[in-house]
């Protein structure tokens, strides 16, 4: 008998390995197919997470790239000099100062401008469009201006041929808001007519803001750009300028240059107040810059919440799959297959689900990104939008979208392959799982028969599943509450300001004058005596800066009679004292400065000099009270204190109460032609426009709300579907006892209702806390002038309750087909 050679088992050949890999893949694919509805639901949850995060993060990249490109292409200024209101210097004087900067050689380009407030009448046949604005006299030679250039979106550029002629370019946001034709004719202060040859974008107006705190103010502010000579002629300031924009060579310290320039200006023009700002201090630049970063932070938070939902859903399903494969795992153990290899199959399932979700997510991300950018392009036009596919973003987010749900599934798999084989292969009642927390709740009885007890017991019987399901739904609701709550809070802030402004004579108008006029001047007399006017309250409004312990920010100080019957601010602290020199601040301003009623602060404010120009001086003032307006920059002083500005007996702002009958447009048309009038606006117009512009976002908000609704529904459906699977034998037993399908469904609905209530409470609380955190962290950096108080509107709350309670409760109804088609005899025999 020949000897048989016995050797060590050979390692699998590469063909064998591929064959084994193919088997695992096929097997896991069959597992997927067996639960394809649940798999699709989880893949969609992951897709929503990855897609929305990747899509929105792409938008951040696009916004950043497109605005940076806009700033570069139009050579936005590094430093800007603005002379105090009404002050001018001879052309060339500011350039001379610029040339001295840094000992020369630091300035790359510098251009003088003349910027004058005007009233613009762009009325069409359909509507009266009478708004305040500014006319910018700039260099138009050689496709100029060279600094803060103009990108002509519609119409043509200005050239040397236009110098001295009444031709201008209209700021694009304004033209777009009112859907004005590309070219046309406007009327400006003093009844002068000017043609606009096109509509233009420029960095200072990538976001339209006004020095009165107007934000996204395109409806209420029109900027016109024309040649310096034309502006000088139209405003009667021949040979004069009041504004300088300059760029410096790369690597220069802007802050140091700003300080140096401020010093040079003080020496050169001691009687003229001048403010120097850096690019970073430009309101539009600052808000856009902070907004892009702030939005990304919010996307990060929402992504975490959505991924949490995806992780929970994936965990639940894989845990269920592993549970249903318990005996197969046991058999594999008995056959000596190492645990690591047994784990391959469920892990492959998890990997395939996560991969499927990420692949779907790319589609969701592309669609969402395109939808968002199309809204943004419309809302915020730029010279060019760069919307390249963001490979890096999609790759990173895709990796996160794959890894997190996948890693979440390793826990149940690890647990499953660690049980002793004998336990894994047990069948029948020996394999039955315990009752979870049900024994603790045996004394808790809800009214009704045993059908009413079953849902409660089912919730507590699988506490981990119940907790994770609630967590997933709560995450979606928290995202919804925080997201919509942000809008609610913003709108509530606007409403709060509106309530304060409209607390008396809500139909009144604010009439701005181009400079302070004596109270008995012609313009004031004409307005006072107009048959359309009932009452006139002369006031002053002056741009100032509040300073205290290193903190400083701009204020618009309104000087008015604090006992006025036309309108007066309502105080939340302190009391009106018309005789004491002092100031009334907003609560936010007081908080930011760290002052209370009775404390003092320094006000840097303009003062009329004997030369007729304004200088900036600093005065120590007592805080006499706090008012209700949510804008930080709104401050009040009594008209008895106008001497502080050397403006006693003068006015540059008239509060006009019309007689009954004329409309707001009638009033505007009547006041507009008067010499000296810069603007006439209803006091409620700012908030009306913001409401109007926000309504453009409502569709997008509804899309995001819808996505979050789908997300919560998917998680709830997934959980309901898994529960139905897991309880199939119980349901079959119920059917064997003649319990109707609708009764079984009712029990499932009640079970989900309990989960939904728990999840909604948790979600609303988490969303509220998240909203508070976002407002506390984000608003001070993005909108420091706005006091936003977190608010969740009843509508948001109702949607959340609908989402979390009703929609989640009804999710089991989606499984009715499965229940009705159940093979009862086969299910009764199922051995798990």
């Amino acid at each position: 008998m020949g000897r048989r050679r016995v050797g060590r088992p050979t390692l699998p050949t590469s063909t064998g390995r591929w064959s084994a890999a193919g088997l695992w893949l096929r097997w896991s694919w069959r597992d997927l197919k067996a639960r394809w509805i649940q798999v699709a639901a989880i893949a969609l949850v992951i897709a929503l997470g990855t897609g929305s995060y990747a899509g929105l993060s792409s938008v951040t990249k696009w916004r950043r790239a497109s605005t940076d490109d806009g700033y570069a292409r139009l050579n936005m200024h590094d430093l800007r000099v603005e002379l105090a209101q009404g002050s001018t210097v001879p052309e060339g004087a500011l350039l001379e100062v610029a040339r001295e900067l840094g000992g020369g050689g630091v300035v790359d380009q510098a251009e003088e401008r003349l910027v004058v407030p005007i009233q613009v009448d762009a009325s069409t046949e359909e509507r009266a469009i009478l708004v305040p604005g500014s006319i910018y006299g700039v260099n138009v030679s050689d496709s100029g201006p060279g600094v803060d250039g103009l990108f002509v979106d519609l119409g043509r550029e200005l050239t040397d041929d236009d110098v001295g002629k009444p031709v201008a370019l209209l700021e694009r946001h304004f033209g777009k808001y009112y859907d004005l034709p590309p070219t046309g004719t406007l009327e400006i202060s003093g009844g002068q007519r000017i043609d606009y040859a096109g509509q233009t974008l420029t960095p200072e107006y990538f976001l339209v803001t006004t020095d009165r705190g107007g934000l996204i103010a395109e409806a209420n502010f029109a900027a016109l750009f024309t040649s310096l000579a034309t502006a000088q002629q139209l405003t009667g300031r021949e040979g004069l300028v009041n504004d300088l924009v300059l760029t410096v060579v790369p690597g220069s310290d802007r802050d140091a240059l700003k300080a140096e320039l401020t010093g040079l200006l003080a020496v050169r023009f001691p009687a003229v107040g001048a403010t120097v700002t850096t690019r970073e201090e430009d309101p539009a630049f600052k808000i856009i810059d902070a907004d892009i970063d702030g939005d990304q932070q919010i996307y990060d938070i929402f992504a975490v919440l959505i991924f949490a939902g995806a992780v929970v859903a994936a965990f639940n399903l894989i845990a269920r799959i592993v549970e249903s494969q318990r005996r197969e795992i046991g058999v594999a153990m008995v056959l000596g297959v190492p645990p690591a290899r047994i784990a391959i199959r469920p892990l492959l399932v998890a990997a395939e689900i996560a991969l499927l979700g990420v692949v779907f997510g790319v589609g969701v991300g592309v669609l969402l990104g395109q939808a968002m950018v199309s809204v943004l392009k419309d809302f915020s036009p730029l010279p060019a939008w760069h919307t390249d596919f963001q490979w890096g973003v999609f790759f990173t987010v895709g990796a996160i979208g794959f890894l997190f749900p996948f890693l979440a599934t390793t826990w149940p798999v690890w647990r499953a392959v660690r049980v002793p084989p004998v336990q894994a292969i047990q069948s029948g009642y020996r394999a039955a799982r315990g009752g979870g927390l049900a024994p603790l709740f045996r004394w808790v009885r809800v009214p009704g028969n045993t059908f009413a007890q079953v849902p409660v017991r089912n919730v507590v019987r699988a506490p981990r599943r119940s907790f994770l399901t609630s967590l997933g739904i709560a995450a979606a609701i928290a995202a919804l509450v925080a997201f919509v709550g942000l809008i609610d809070s913003f709108l509530a802030t606007i409403d709060r300001g509106e309530r304060e402004i409209l607390s008396a004579n809500p139909d009144r108008l604010e009439v701005d004058l181009d400079r302070p006029y004596a109270l008995d001047s012609e313009v004031v007399r004409v307005i006072r005596e107009s048959p359309l006017v009932d009452q006139v309250e002369p006031q002053l409004r002056l741009g100032s800066v509040a300073l205290k312990d290193g903190e400083d920010f701009g204020l618009q100080v309104q000087v008015l009679a604090l006992d006025s019957t036309v309108w007066a601010p309502r105080l939340t602290a302190g009391a009106v004292d018309r005789e004491q020199q002092g100031i009334y601040l907003s609560e936010l301003a007081a908080r930011n400065l760290g002052v209370r009623v009775g404390d003092s602060l320094t006000l840097r404010h303009p003062r009329l000099e004997a030369t007729g120009t304004f200088s900036l001086v600093e005065t120590e003032l007592t805080v006499l009270g706090l008012h209700q307006h949510p804008f930080r920059f709104v401050a009040y002083m009594d008209s008895n204190q106008a001497g502080l500005f050397n403006l006693a007996g003068t006015t540059n702002l008239l509060e006009v109460v019309p007689v009954e009958g004329p409309t707001r447009d009638d009033m505007k048309r009547a006041l507009f032609p008067l010499p000296g009038v810069v603007s006439a606006q209803g006091v409620s117009e700012v908030s009306e426009v913001i409401d109007d512009l926000l309504s453009e976002f409502v569709v997008l908000l509804r899309v995001i709300e819808g996505a979050l609704l789908v997300l919560a529904l998917l998680i709830a459906f997934n959980s309901a579907s898994i529960n139905m699977d897991e309880r199939a034998r119980e349901h079959a037993t119920m059917f064997a006892f003649g319990v109707r399908v609708r009764t079984v469904l009712r029990m499932a609905v009640v079970e989900n209702l309990i989960l939904g209530i728990m999840a909604t409470i948790a979600g609303v609380v988490a969303g509220w806390l998240l909203l508070r955190a976002i407002i506390a962290i984000r608003i001070p950096s993005t909108l420091p002038d706005l006091e936003v108080i977190p608010v969740i509107s009843p509508t948001t709350l109702a949607i959340s309750v609908f989402l979390g309670v009703l929609a989640v409760a009804l999710a089991p109804l989606l499984t009715v087909r499965k229940l009705r088609r159940m093979d009862v005899p086969a299910t009764l025999k199922v051995v798990e």
Binding site: A432, G435, R442, E730, F735, F737, P825, L828
Partner: protein, 233 residues
């Protein structure tokens, strides 16, 4: 009480068709304790499912408590299960989230029975007074099956169907369960037990033996009805 006339249950079509039951005819009267005996695949569970209105025959007629369930609607089949038949399963199929008492009460609620024995009384009748507030996972296999029997009895339905009721149990426990089931047959009630265990068949009044979907024998157990205490397996 139960009449089967030329009952056939086929699965599949054409050459792949399999007949789980093939032209079965039988009548079971009230008071009978019947054992349906046969090896795996003989069709005994299919027969039980058809009597229990869980399945419908491909052809033939089935009448349970006077009602033709062959032509019954889905709703009527549910009603038959609520008011005519009660099941006892091999794997017990108790509701894990409910206590023993609640499991029994569930059956009372399901059938909508008013009056009659309470859940506690039924549990007492199977000797489980002390365990009434225990959850299934806190009970032994025998106790669980007794709860399952109590649940079936609580409905008060005239037909008791048990599918391999001792299959999961050890011998001693199985004997006690069988004894309990045997006691349930009597006036107004028939008990049908499906098993592959010939020893159990010895305790029956009547044994219907199936082979390949056909009745191979129908009558009293060979050697006469044995006392449960004399059984062994």
């Amino acid at each position: 009480m139960i009449e089967l006339e030329h009952v056939t249950r086929a699965y599949g079509e054409g050459p792949h068709q399999v007949r789980a039951l093939d032209d079965i005819s039988a009548t079971i009267a009230e008071g009978e304790f019947v054992v349906v005996l046969g090896p795996s695949g003989s069709g005994k569970t299919t027969l039980l499912n058809i009597i229990g209105a869980l399945d419908t025959p491909t052809s033939g007629t089935v009448r349970v408590a006077g009602q033709d369930i062959t032509t019954a609607s889905r709703g009527q089949l549910f009603a038959v299960r609520r008011r005519t038949v009660s099941f006892i399963f091999q794997g017990f199929n108790l509701f894990p989230g409910l206590t023993a008492r609640e499991n029994v009460q569930f059956a009372i609620d399901a059938c909508g029975r008013k009056g009659g024995a309470s859940a506690d009384e039924v549990l007492e009748s199977v000797g489980l007074t002390v365990q009434a507030r225990q959850f299934p996972h806190q009970l032994s296999g025998g106790e669980q099956q007794r709860v399952a029997i109590a649940r079936a009895l609580a409905t008060g339905n005239p037909v008791l169907l048990a599918d391999e009721p001792t299959g999961e149990l050890d011998f001693q426990t199985g004997v006690r369960i069988l004894e309990l089931l045997q006691k349930q047959s009597g006036p107004g009630r028939a008990v049908i037990v499906v098993t592959h265990n010939r020893q159990i068949a010895r305790a029956a009044d009547r044994v219907i033996e199936l082979s390949s979907g056909r009745i191979s024998s129908d009558g009293p157990p060979q050697g006469g009805k044995a006392n449960v205490a004399d059984l062994y397996w």
